[in-house]
């Protein structure tokens, strides 16, 4: 769409996603999973991608790495990684980006590991291929990384099979494997959703520690607002295949501008606040086969007017702050009144 809606390129930008549209062909019609998504990730930065199911979080990761299923396609837009548009690369070129430059960590650690191969086989192959070292050296790197992520007795355990590890340990193996390739960007798609809270704390702790040690950027995709609050510098809030608000993490939590972000934050049960009734958002997340016109959130929004049936641009409202809503002034006036 209009180029004004994209972020101006920051000198430090590592990944610049500009106005991408990803569509899926299905039996019941075309699913517009991403509908003009723009955001950026800078060097050494942890960025959170937040939203509810079906908002396009995971599709964004898959579009960036070009690993969409057969029926999906990025139909428009650009994905600049260190100045190169990934969408123009050939498949062999793309293979040198995946893993080595941009690593991906999935939600379910069991299905990301081959159950019939030992951890050694799964790590050594990848490391020797991408880093151009022989198997012996690759094994050394693997053991070193396994130790770094806190796997005890790594020298022996490298010969174990995935089923011999617990869920948290498997996720550590995957982190070790991903980071052994020394990528610049780690995309973590719900990395701790399948884990218990105490294990989640361990895994997030490792990701943060490794990030600081290796100086890599993190794109953390999650629906858990607590996880983003504690682990990111900036947030992009997704709704219905679009970015509706983005900004520094603290600003988003302390001073949300978009009606959806506000409603989302109010609907989580708070630890600190009292009981009372939870704020709810009427209706449910939009179907992207036949999405609402204009602002995707308007059917559920209390600020809805005729104007909202047109698409609101993602407008800059401050340093690193962007909001896609026609009624920001009214929303803010209301917030001031209530506080």
């Amino acid at each position: 769409m209009s180029s004004e809606t994209t972020h101006p390129t920051h000198e430090d930008v590592l990944l610049d996603v500009r106005d991408i549209y990803t569509y899926f062909r299905t039996e019941s019609g075309v699913v517009k999973a991403l509908d003009g998504v723009s955001f950026d990730i800078r060097n050494n930065e942890a960025v959170g991608i937040v939203g509810e199911s079906g908002c396009g979080k995971s599709v964004t990761a898959k579009s960036i790495l070009r690993i969409l299923p057969k029926n999906g396609e990025v139909v428009a837009g650009e994905v600049y990684y260190r100045g190169v548009n990934l969408l123009n690369l050939t498949e062999p070129q793309m293979r040198t980006v995946r893993g080595k430059e941009i690593a991906l960590l999935f939600q379910d650690p069991l299905s990301s590991l081959n159950p019939v191969l030992s951890i050694r086989e799964q790590m050594v192959d990848v490391i020797s291929l991408h880093r151009g070292v022989d198997e012996e050296e690759a094994a050394e790197i693997a053991v070193k990384m396994m130790k770094a992520v806190g796997i005890p007795e790594a020298e022996q355990r490298i010969d174990d099979y995935p089923h011999q590890y617990s869920g948290g340990m498997r996720q550590r193996i995957l982190i070790a494997r991903a980071l052994a390739l020394e990528p610049r960007l780690l995309i973590a798609d719900e990395p701790t959703t399948a884990l218990d809270v105490t294990i989640q704390a361990q895994v997030l702790d490792i990701i943060q520690r490794m990030r600081k040690e290796l100086g890599l950027s993190l794109m953390l995709i999650t629906h858990n607002l607590g996880v983003v609050a504690e682990n990111t510098d900036r947030i992009h809030v997704f709704y219905g295949g679009r970015v509706v608000e983005s900004g520094p993490t603290r600003d988003i939590f302390k001073d949300p501008h978009h009606p959806y972000t506000i409603a989302l934050l109010e609907s989580i049960p708070s630890f600190v606040k009292g009981k009372g009734r939870l704020a709810t958002i009427p209706g449910s997340v939009p179907q992207l086969i036949n999405p609402p016109s204009g602002c995707r959130f308007h059917p559920r929004c209390k600020y809805m007017t005729e104007e909202c049936k047109k698409r609101p641009p993602l407008e800059k409202i401050g340093k690193d702050r962007y909001v896609a809503c026609f009624h920001v002034d009214k929303v803010l006036a209301d917030r001031k009144k209530s506080s």
Partner: protein
């Protein structure tokens, strides 16, 4: 277990039930020294022999009072779901009893007693997609239990419509199939199906964990409203501690088949006594960047319920463990009024601080 014998005396006030508040005498459900072991069999052509036991539930005493919401929390594999299945009668206990108003639910004396118990303990499941029959109209799903239990002879449809409205659906929804509903609406149907029996106890096993945050809020509100309206007791099982804190009056924390801490919600969350509860609470990420807290990161994983550690089950991961903890298993004891914990060295101070750090952006 229950070192204080539950004597046959009529004076219930005299009984001290581990984990129960002393001022309440209106218990409607009692779990006594419940154990549920699953045998691990090694099979050969001729013989199969039991080589071990998975101790999913390993000695639980618990009372549920009239009209309370008891939150049951713990990590995966701690036995929450096995406990709930045994309470509702889907699993037979290895030892111990579950008593609903003094009737043993696993050994009913008559058909009528069995029917009465079943009617009064209902369940709401986690997955609203798989817990409704896809080939049945919502009306038929809701009507069947009424017919079986002869609760509203001749007026079943009326009762069904009534209940649908109570859970925030419309009368025309009765003539639809489950696939026509969203996840949140299906969970409303699940609630309607449980409540239509006018039960005294509902066991809700992770009722909101499959839902999006915005939908989760409306289901939690609805559950609280319905709880008030029907004065039903709810055992609310969840792994999301902020949800449990929001809805429940009392909380029981489970670890490896045992209750390690139980007490009024505010006490458990504000000043937990058991180190496991402390670490569990400190592990929750807060949706507020200004709150910084001391985080206790636990070492290792939950041990396997086959080879339980000797002494306290939590000792291998505990930041406070001493020699005694590895030798002797602690029993539930009252640490502060109504707050019970099974620990040799309970925390007596407030150990988790939720500091609001004022930071200049």
């Amino acid at each position: 277990m229950a070192s204080v014998e539950l004597s046959s005396s009529e004076q219930t006030e005299v009984e001290i039930f581990p984990g129960s508040p002393k001022d309440r005498t209106d218990a409607i459900l009692e779990v006594r020294n419940l154990r549920k072991y699953f045998p691990i069999e090694s099979k050969s052509i001729l013989f199969s022999k039991v080589v071990g036991q998975i101790k999913a539930v390993d000695g639980i005493d618990l009372q549920i009072f009239k009209g309370e919401i008891l939150g049951l929390v713990g990590e995966s594999g701690c036995g929450k779901s096995t406990l709930s299945k045994t309470i509702i009668g889907l699993e037979k206990p290895t030892t111990g009893q579950v008593l609903y108003r003094d009737k043993d639910i696993h050994h009913p004396k008559s058909k009528t007693e069995s029917m009465e118990v079943k009617r009064n303990i209902q369940m709401v499941f986690q997955d609203p997609y798989n817990s409704l029959n896809p080939r049945r109209l919502v009306r038929d799903t809701l009507k069947e239990p009424l017919i079986i239990h002869k609760l509203a002879p001749g007026r079943e449809e009326e009762v069904v419509i009534d209940m649908l409205k109570k859970v925030g659906l419309e009368d025309y929804h009765a003539l639809r199939y489950p696939h026509e509903f969203s996840g949140g609406q299906r969970q409303r149907i699940g609630l309607a199906r449980a409540l239509i029996m006018k039960p005294e106890i509902i066991i809700a096993d992770e009722p909101v964990s499959a839902l999006d945050v915005s939908v989760q809020a409306s289901i939690l509100n609805l559950m609280q409203d319905l709880q008030q309206e029907f004065n039903v007791s709810i055992i609310f099982i969840a792994h999301d501690l902020s949800v449990v804190k929001h809805v429940s009056n009392r909380v029981a924390v489970m670890y490896l088949g045992r209750i390690v801490e139980i007490g009024p919600t505010d006490m458990v969350f504000d000043r937990p006594a058991h180190p496991y509860t402390v670490s569990l609470l400190s592990a929750i990420p807060f949706p507020d960047p200004d709150i910084k807290k001391k985080r206790i990161i636990l070492e290792g994983d939950v041990p396997s319920p086959v080879n339980l550690p000797e002494g306290c089950r939590f000792a291998p991961r505990c930041y406070k463990a001493q020699e005694l903890c590895h030798k002797e298993e602690p029993m539930l004891q009252e640490i502060r009024p109504n707050l019970w914990a099974a620990c040799h060295y309970p925390e007596d101070e407030k150990v988790i601080f939720f500091d609001v750090v004022e930071e200049e952006a």
